[in-house]
Amino acid sequence: MHSEKDFIDRCINNDAKAQEAMYKRYAPKMFGVCLRFAKNKIEAEEILQEGFIKIFANLKNFRHEGSFEGWIRRTIINTAINYFKKKSRRFVEIDIDDIKTSKITDESILDKISVNELLNLIQTLPNGYRTVFNLNVIEGYTHKEIGKKLSISENTSKSQLSRARAILQKKVINLINVGL
């Protein structure tokens, strides 16, 4: 049985079968990541495609010091961040009214919400909010790390996260009230 290093070496040496095997092994999970960072499926596909091209181009730089999947995931996330950095330089105004009034009264009902519904909620967030929420809550990045990655201050990251949470909370409650 081939080790992960041999597998990666074959990919570096442009072994087409190894490359396809690697893609099929990691693409579904990474596509899930892309869908969370993207506004829609088309954007997620673009990020995934761009991300895997970068992965194959930079495989020789992988030092085998950590998890290979973690390295792929970081590459995909960085690709997503750069993708939205290019699109973020335009005037955006966000109205976040009556956030403070929303409260979840019954936590157990949340389990009935499907992952696809949650995905739709995340995708409705503005780019900055969605990115900060994904990085902090799901990927576990600190606000300092997020600030460096997005070239924003730590406080901006925090405030965007709190707003993202508030918006999602409100939308989750609306979802519960309407659908459940």
């Binding site: 579904p28 596909e45 995934l48 091209i53 009556d98 600030g147």
Partner: protein
């Protein structure tokens, strides 16, 4: 079993923990195609890069060796023919003077010369028109002269060349040396017949030969003559014009060397006006590449293939970023009643309301993100050294050196507010600020085309490496990176 979530974070973390979705099949086809294309480009690029590096190294080596070993030949192009002629004349005069001085010092030679003249008059010899001496001539010469001629004619016994050379040198020391003035004198006084090397020759041939022939060449000819005799070839010095011309060429080379050495130390000064558009690359992502433009004046000093350049330049750069404004929207105002007083001075009691205007803002925050652009102007002082190679109308240059940049002006516009009347909670400026002074190292490789004797145009592709980031050490990651830039320096150069 139902799960319970304490907060919304847990809900999302749990639901997305193992979230997987199969991507469309076409994505892999696109990726595969892109990988194969990039591999072929990469392999071609590697090959081209190796070839480029080799060509560059060879070119640099050739240019360098050309300047080191062949610099003198290059400078000969600049020699003024008029100067050569005048130098040649001066050199000829010096030779003639040298001959004359030698004649004056050699009194014995003069005596011999007088003897020759007397002998010629006494014997009333026939005029010899051929420059080649004849053996019969020895009959009409004096005893001393006979000995000399016999020494030259006989050589039945082979001698070593070294001895012959030494003997010839001794002979030439004893033989008379004629100056131009003496030769002219003989021609006028003796029916155009004169004696040279103890032989009577026609003055016309002799005049041509002796006018510009230095003593050394006569010695050499005699030595060669003796060597030829060792091979049983009895010949007199061959004073033909071609050999004189060859001697002139040797003199010419000496003169050229002198003139070249004088020209070599003369530096060439030129003044250029340059425009350099460039793209600055930051190694943190494609979206932070910047454009910059530089207008400058440069003073070039070209010294024997080496060039040194300095000057002043004005660099214009821009940064783009975002302002994020947290604010509360203005809804309106009302009059807040502070107190009421009553005026009882009149017949009726009049209430007076003391109020203050209170502005009302929406308690819900709003966020505004707007694009921002900062402009900077730098004064740049470069100092380049390098090589220049002139090739008719085109000259090639390789220059490099440091550039110092001082910020002399910056334009950081105020934040654009989304509405006129808002209550600002916080403003985040996602645009880095710049430092006042920075250093770069630049390398220019280019060529200049000669439009006229004084005017050239030049194009120089430029690589510039920033020795530190141009940004302040704030929370921006690019403040820790060393950017580099690629540009094209175009210029109009006036040569003085």
């Amino acid at each position: 079993m139902k799960k319970t979530y304490k907060n919304i974070d847990e809900l999302f973390i749990d639901k997305f923990r193992d979230f997987e979705v199969d991507p469309p099949e076409i994505l892999w086809d696109n990726i595969k195609q892109n990988i194969s294309e990039s591999n072929s480009i990469s392999s071609n690029f590697n090959g081209n890069r190796i070839i480029s590096v080799i060509i560059t190294i060879i070119s640099v080596a050739l240019i360098t060796s050309f300047f080191i070993f062949d610099g003198e030949k290059n400078n000969s192009v600049a020699i003024d023919p008029v100067n050569i002629i005048s130098e040649n004349s001066i050199q000829d005069k010096e030779n003639i003077e040298q001959i004359s001085i030698k004649n004056i010092e050699n009194t014995e030679t003069k005596e011999v010369l007088n003897k020759n003249q007397k002998v010629e008059k006494e014997t009333q010899a026939n005029t010899i028109t051929d420059i080649e001496p004849k053996i019969e001539k020895s009959e009409i010469e004096t005893k001393t002269e006979k000995e000399l001629v016999e020494t030259k004619v006989k050589y039945p016994e082979p001698e070593k060349e070294e001895k012959l050379v030494a003997k010839a040198i001794n002979e030439i020391k004893e033989e008379p040396v004629y100056s131009k003035s003496e030769e002219i004198q003989f021609a006028s006084s003796d029916n155009n017949n004169i004696i040279y090397n103890n032989e009577v020759v026609t003055s016309d041939s002799f005049k041509t030969a002796i006018v510009s022939q230095p003593i050394i060449s006569i010695e050499e000819e005699l030595v060669q003559n003796i060597i030829d005799k060792s091979d049983n070839n009895i010949e007199k010095p061959n004073l033909n014009i071609l050999e004189v011309k060859n001697t002139d060429n040797q003199q010419q080379d000496v003169i050229d060397e002198n003139i070249i050495s004088r020209n070599r130390i003369k530096p060439q000064i030129s003044l250029g006006a340059y425009f350099t558009p460039e793209v600055i690359f930051y190694p943190v992502g494609n979206d932070v590449n910047k454009n910059a433009y530089t207008f400058g004046l440069g003073l070039n000093l070209n010294y024997n293939g080496f060039v040194i350049e300095s000057g002043l330049g004005f660099n214009f750069s821009e940064d783009k970023g975002d302002y994020i404004i947290d604010y509360e929207e203005y809804l309106g105002s009302y009059e807040d009643l502070l107190n009421i007083t009553f005026d009882t001075s009149g017949q009726t009691v009049e209430p007076i309301f003391h109020t203050t205007t209170v502005e009302v803002y929406d308690s819900l925050n709003k966020v505004s993100i707007s694009a921002a652009k900062n402009s900077y102007t730098y004064l740049q002082i470069p100092l380049f050294v390098g090589f220049v190679k002139n090739n008719r109308r085109i000259s090639y240059t390789l220059k490099g050196g440091p550039i110092m940049s001082f910020m002399i002006n910056k334009n950081i516009p105020d934040v654009v507010l989304p509405e006129d009347k808002i209550k600002i909670i916080k403003i985040d400026r996602n645009i880095p600020t710049r430092i006042n002074t920075n250093w770069q190292f630049a390398i220019n490789v280019g060529f200049a085309y000669k439009l006229s004797n004084h005017l050239n145009i030049s194009i120089e592709p430029t690589f510039r490496y920033y020795l530190r980031s141009v940004y302040n050490n704030d929370n921006s990651i690019i403040s820790t990176k060393h950017p580099y830039s690629l540009g094209v320096r175009t210029g109009l150069i006036y040569k003085f």
